[in-house]
């Protein structure tokens, strides 16, 4: 057995509402997401294109993280979570009955808001996913490759046995990225990966995302509009609908990042990117 191979054999389905050219890695067609009886998100049709960085922006509570976390079924861990609609990953509906969410998460990796390395050595952190997948090849090679990929190798190559928690915040986050890419997932979900980092560490992680884009499809939630303009190829803007009492997030518009920021189609997007509300 080797590490999970991307499902390249499966022919990806062309999305009906994918207005851009290029293949769609995850075609997210969420109609409604509930937490208990609370409608958190409605109408979020967000195609995630292969080999591109898709940025999710919007004010607090607009459901951008909720949508991101429903792409690898992390929301299943929250009590009362219910999703209407479907999410197609390379042609398969990951919310279909026969799908195992645990397996889905091995193909769609995740980097969290807070750096969260395990209380183990740097090496073991990166090797964690390989061991989980019963990888039989050369661990040192793969770990080094992943750490180089995450631009962390030169800083840690002499202390691979040191604790992952001994690193600085920015290094920890790059370690988490190395851990996520070690198993070579098809898609990488990043939930505000820089919000706990200083500007220099943020810069490094952003550069890293641009490098990773060649090999991975990335979906990035960010609170920082400048970050979206710097790294995202495509941007999805989410808004909050308070007309029905609760705060329900929905997709306002989605397009090339340049178009969203320069020539938004919607009034709301215009106001948001101009900094009129946040």
């Amino acid at each position: 057995m080797t590490v999970v191979q991307p499902l390249k054999g499966d022919a990806p389905t062309k999305s009906a509402n994918a207005d851009d050219d290029g293949e769609v890695a995850i075609n997210c067609k969420v109609s409604k997401i509930y937490y208990g009886s609370f409608l958190a998100v409605r109408d979020a049709h967000v195609p995630i294109h292969k080999g591109k960085i898709t940025g999710f922006i919007g004010p607090s509570g607009c459901g951008k993280s909720t949508v991101l976390r429903s792409l690898n079924r992390m929301n299943d861990l929250i009590q009362g979570f219910r999703l209407e609609g479907d999410v197609h990953f390379l042609g398969q509906d990951i919310y279909a009955k026969h799908i195992d969410p645990v397996v889905v998460r091995r193909y769609i990796g995740m980097v969290f808001q807070q750096p969260n390395p395990f209380a183990m050595s740097i090496f073991d952190n990166v090797a964690f996913g390989l061991r989980l997948n019963k990888f039989k090849g050369n661990y040192h090679e793969r770990v080094e490759h992943a750490l180089r990929r995450a631009a962390l190798w030169d800083e840690v190559k002499d202390k691979l046995k040191a604790s992952g928690l001994s690193l600085s915040g920015g290094q920890q986050q790059r370690l988490c990225i190395a851990r996520a890419v070690a198993t070579e997932p098809t898609v990488l979900l990043m939930d505000e990966p820089c919000s706990a980092l200083d500007p220099i560490a943020t810069r490094r992680v952003e550069e890293l995302m641009l490098e990773l884009k060649d090999d991975y499809t990335i979906a990035l939630v960010t609170h920082n509009m400048q970050q979206a303009t710097r790294v995202a190829d495509v941007t999805a803007f989410f808004g909050v609908d308070i007309s029905k009492g609760g705060r329900t997030g929905y997709l306002v518009e989605m397009g090339e990042t340049e178009q969203i920021f320069q020539r938004p189609r919607e009034q709301l997007t215009q106001e948001y990117v101009a900094g009129k509300f946040s």
């Binding site: 690898n72 992390m74 861990l77 645990v102 397996v103 889905v104 998460r105 091995r106 990796g109 995740m110 969290f112 807070q114 969260n116 390395p117 395990f118 209380a119 183990m120 050595s121 964690f128 996913g129 989980l132 997948n133 604790s163 992952g164 928690l165 001994s166 988490c176 851990r179 996520a180 198993t183």
Partner: protein
């Protein structure tokens, strides 16, 4: 600290009204700080007095009888001189080991259930204790295990709850099942806390005499089978301390000291092996 001419970052010349940066004992803030520090020391000392006095008594009264005889000889009869309590040491260690073999896996797994999976903790705990309760008459070890369980369960549960949520999320995000998350991340991270709980349980149970009176009883001979009445230090202390013979009373003191030393050694060992590695 006594340097009155603190380095100044600005280029303005030294003036008479320059702020006083030197340390002053009469300053009310410093005064209060010192008073509180002294107060905290005093209180800590008072708390340690009973502990130290007990240890002092044990060493003074039992220390004189410390010799290898204690570990090799059997308890003396009425008017005999000398003797030891080797069989009671063996019995105590054996029963504590039996108790640990029973209580640690059940306690730790039960705690894992309570901390990570189970919704209703008190109910499960009651069931656990009741179910074990029916076997309590079989041997001292089982009786001690029952006494150990609550300590182990509660401390292990707390230790597992202390493992940060974000670390558990990381494990699930990598594609761990809940079981894998508990084995690969929660247990290793919580190990020092779990061991502390086990040691607390061992320390408690090693000095317990009441449950052994009705389960293991006592014996004046070396242990030959697990199904026979078995000697223990706590029962020996209980018996000998009320005897009218000086020799036995001295032995009771020595046994108390040995019991404390055994628990101490256990504790030091668990600290050594359970130290957080990362």
């Amino acid at each position: 600290m006594t340097d009155t001419t603190a380095p100044r970052t600005t280029s303005e010349p030294e003036e008479d009204d320059a702020p006083v940066l030197s340390h002053s004992w009469s300053d009310s803030r410093a005064l209060r700080n010192n008073m509180l520090t002294i107060g905290a020391w005093l209180v800590a000392l008072i708390a340690a007095i009973p502990l130290i006095s007990v240890l002092y008594m044990l060493i003074v009264q039992g220390g004189s009888r410390l010799s290898t005889d204690l570990f090799t000889e059997l308890p003396p009869a009425g008017f005999e001189m000398g003797g030891g309590f080797g069989n009671a040491i063996v019995g105590t260690i054996l029963m504590v080991v039996i108790a640990s073999i029973i209580a640690v896996p059940i306690g730790v797994l039960g705690a894992a259930y309570l901390a990570e999976l189970g919704p209703d903790s008190q109910f499960v705990y009651a069931v656990l204790v009741l179910a074990m309760g029916t076997y309590s008459a079989i041997a001292g070890g089982v009786a001690l295990a029952i006494l150990m369980l609550p300590t182990v369960v509660l401390t292990a549960e707390e230790a597992m709850k202390m493992v940060p949520r974000k670390m558990k999320d990381a494990a699930l995000g990598m594609g761990c099942t809940r079981t894998q998350m508990i084995w690969k991340v929660v247990f290793p991270t919580a190990l020092p806390g779990i061991l502390t709980g086990v040691m607390l349980g061992v320390a408690r149970v090693a000095g317990e005499s009441a449950p052994l009176l009705f389960t293991a009883l006592f014996s004046n001979y070396w242990l030959s089978s697990l199904r026979e009445p078995t000697a223990s230090l706590s029962i020996l202390i209980y018996n000998f301390s009320s005897m009218p013979f000086d020799n036995q009373i001295e032995l009771a003191w020595a046994a108390s000291l040995v019991l404390v030393l055994i628990v101490l050694v256990f504790n030091i060992l668990s600290r050594l092996f359970g130290r957080p590695k990362y």
